[in-house]
């Protein structure tokens, strides 16, 4: 923005109204959000009720051609919408089942990042001083390491721990990946929580609460946290998309879950035969892509709705 005598440019927006350039953009963002919501809703319904839906085949159902199974024996078409994979399973059905574990990992990892990062960020922002310095060291080091490298290290280390200590038997690959992604998500959440807390802490209603004799814990719980929710929700939705994609990337590197499928695992399994049976790779990719973009579209809309600057994210 430049300042000239042209008053439009220097004018603060006269009313909560759109300028002509903004309007189409805003409308398409709104539309984008609904497309995203529609996709995720459909996916969630299919996934939850996969067993009851007639058009979704069973997880282990193998399709036979002439009474025999075979690698990629059916291409996309009326019999199997998205063809079959290397072991004659219906790709569409498997994509739906894979969504379960993919989304569960994504949501759990987001919750871990949100809770840990949020608490860390609020403490840093509210108390400042040495707490802030310590917290900043943690987040900065998390951000300084290449995320992929960090993920590899964490997963391998947890593999070892799992073997070493019997009480860690619950630490399956799914949990390892969930924890890893959750840890990776801490830093961004902590950053935004800290920035927002600092902005809120000097607001007069927070000062008013303190002048009423409220304890810090109460000030945080009653005055700060409710005002953090919009921003954190926005970051969480966008972050969910990123984490779903990250899970795919990890699976592609061979750090996939073992038995229940994820999209990432399907993509990494199918890509070897990409030339022979493109459908076994492309359709899981499509699911992943649509889901990630849906989260982003919704996140965008939320960010605008709550007026959260991208710089803060």
């Amino acid at each position: 923005m430049t300042i000239t005598a042209d008053p439009v440019l220097s004018a603060p927006p006269p009313a909560p109204a759109d300028t002509p350039t903004q309007r189409p953009a805003r409308r398409s963002i709104k539309l984008g959000m609904w497309v995203g919501v529609a996709w995720l809703a459909a996916l969630a319904l299919c996934t939850l009720f996969a067993g009851q839906l007639s058009f979704v085949r069973g997880y282990d159902t193998k399709l036979k051609v002439g009474g025999k199974t075979g690698r990629y024996n059916i291409g996309p078409g009326t019999r199997a919408w998205m063809g079959t994979d290397s072991s004659s399973h219906d790709v569409f059905a498997r994509c739906i089942y894979a969504a379960r574990i993919t989304l569960t990992i994504g949501v759990l990892a987001t919750v871990i990042g949100l809770v840990l990062g949020g608490v860390l960020g609020i403490i840093c922002g509210y108390y400042q001083g040495w707490a802030d310095r310590l917290g900043s060291i943690v987040t900065d080091s998390l951000l300084a390491l290449p995320p992929l490298l960090l993920a590899l290290l964490l997963v391998y280390r947890m593999d070892d721990l799992n073997k070493e200590y019997s009480w860690l038997h619950w630490l399956t690959r799914e949990w390892e990946i969930t924890l890893t992604l959750g840890i990776l998500a801490i830093a961004p959440f902590a950053r935004i929580a800290r920035a927002q807390t600092i902005a809120l802490r000097d607001r007069e209603f927070v000062l008013a609460a303190r002048s009423l004799g409220a304890k810090s814990s109460r000030v945080i719980a009653r005055e700060i946290v409710p005002n953090l929710i919009p921003a954190m929700l926005t970051v969480a939705v966008t972050g969910l998309g990123i984490l779903v994609a990250a899970e795919g990337a990890l699976a592609f590197l061979g750090l996939g879950v073992q038995r229940p499928l994820t999209w990432g695992k399907m993509i990494s399994d199918g890509q070897r035969d990409l030339g022979r049976a493109w459908w076994a790779t492309i359709f899981p990719c499509m699911f992943l892509f649509l889901t990630v973009i849906s989260f982003n579209l919704i996140g965008d809309r939320l960010a605008r709705r709550f007026d959260i600057r991208e710089a803060a994210i």
């Binding site: 209603f205 000062l207 004799g213 409220a214 304890k215 009653r222 409710p226 005002n227």
Partner: protein
């Protein structure tokens, strides 16, 4: 203006608040420099009195108000409230003491949590301190809301943004009243409001003060507003007090040149009065590097060499009228703005 010194403090039995040599400094980043927001001021307020603190932005008046509340704690100096020293109190004691004094802020909307119902906001102090039973608390909140002119029913259903600025300020006042404090610090409570609403809020404060026997510290930059509500006024400039006097006395016979300038800068709502200004050029110097001697000497129309070298102390020039100036304005030289006008009023 510089005035340091405690000559103006009274030794009355019913002193509610006594501030001595209050200093508040903030570091400037990591430069090693500091903002001298408040540089050794002393004040006292008697029970039932209204003290006005007036000055331009950056003079430290709001910082003083907050330092009295220990939010944040002052760098040095003493704040004694109801006979107890606040600066040495521990956290829990301090929280308890804060219930006896309350604060109202400038921005009526920003001082209410946007995500809570208005009634809960007003109830909050009682909830924090678990006063009485639920029924007692409800009754108390309803009574206070009625008293400030807010419908309790509507308050239960609405959030702050559904009220106008003036109504939000009433809500803030209600919140500060529910704990029955003995003192309220009002930090520019009407400067964000339209004149017509400002009059409503000022009248409300006067009524509540009479009803509850409140003591007020009223911080504002508008001298006419301060004069209207205060018994005694302290004029501040760049972290120091320049003049303290009873409010009618101060406006009748301003002794400090800065007070004079402030008074003559007030726009007079009457075009038939040709205001004779005592103009000063420029704006206050930075509180990071305040001028030596009298802090006002760089802009003072009557400054002499002595003013730059020696800091004036507050001294009495009339009954309860104190000024920190080597060469005060002589009596009788009242600013032209203070003339009876025929049409106004």
């Amino acid at each position: 203006m510089a005035g340091t010194g405690t000559a103006h403090l009274r030794n009355a039995a019913d002193t509610l608040l006594r501030v001595e040599n209050l200093v508040v400094e903030f570091p400037v980043g990591r430069t090693g420099l500091k903002v001298n927001a408040v540089s050794g001021i002393s004040l006292d307020v008697l029970r039932g009195e209204t003290l006005g603190l007036v000055g331009e932005s950056g003079c430290g008046k709001s910082t003083t108000g907050r330092a009295i509340m220990q939010l944040p704690r002052p760098t040095s100096g003493s704040v004694s409230f109801e006979g107890k020293e606040l600066t040495s109190m521990g956290g829990d004691q301090m929280r308890e003491a804060r219930t006896r004094m309350q604060m109202i802020f400038q921005d009526p909307i920003s001082s209410l949590n946007p995500r809570r119902k208005v009634r809960d906001i007003v109830m909050e102090p009682l909830t924090i301190w678990k006063r009485g039973t639920k029924a007692d608390r409800d009754q108390r909140v309803d009574a206070v809301l009625e008293e400030v002119g807010i419908d309790p029913q509507r308050a239960a259903e609405s959030q702050p943004h559904q009220f106008s600025g003036g109504q939000c300020q009433r809500i803030s006042i209600a919140r500060s009243l529910v704990l029955d404090p003995s003192m309220i610090i009002c930090d520019e409570p009407v400067s964000a409001l339209d004149v017509s609403v400002q009059a409503q809020v000022l009248n409300l404060l006067e009524d509540l003060k009479a009803r509850y026997g409140l003591t007020l510290v009223f911080i504002a930059h508008d001298l006419a507003v301060v004069k209207n509500i205060s018994d005694r006024v302290a004029v501040m400039y760049l972290g120091k007090i320049c003049e303290v006097a009873g409010s009618d006395e101060l406006y009748r016979r301003p002794a400090h040149h800065y007070t004079n300038v402030l008074l003559s800068s007030i726009p007079v709502p009457d075009p038939s009065i040709a205001v004779q200004r005592h103009p000063i050029e420029g704006e206050p110097p930075s509180p990071v590097l305040p001028p030596p001697g009298c802090r006002f000497h760089t802009r003072c129309p009557a400054a002499e060499d002595r003013c730059a070298a020696e800091e004036p102390q507050l001294r009495e020039i009339g009954d309860g009228h104190f000024v920190a100036c080597h060469f005060p304005v002589h009596g009788g030289d009242a600013p032209v703005a203070v003339r009876s006008s025929s049409s106004a009023g």
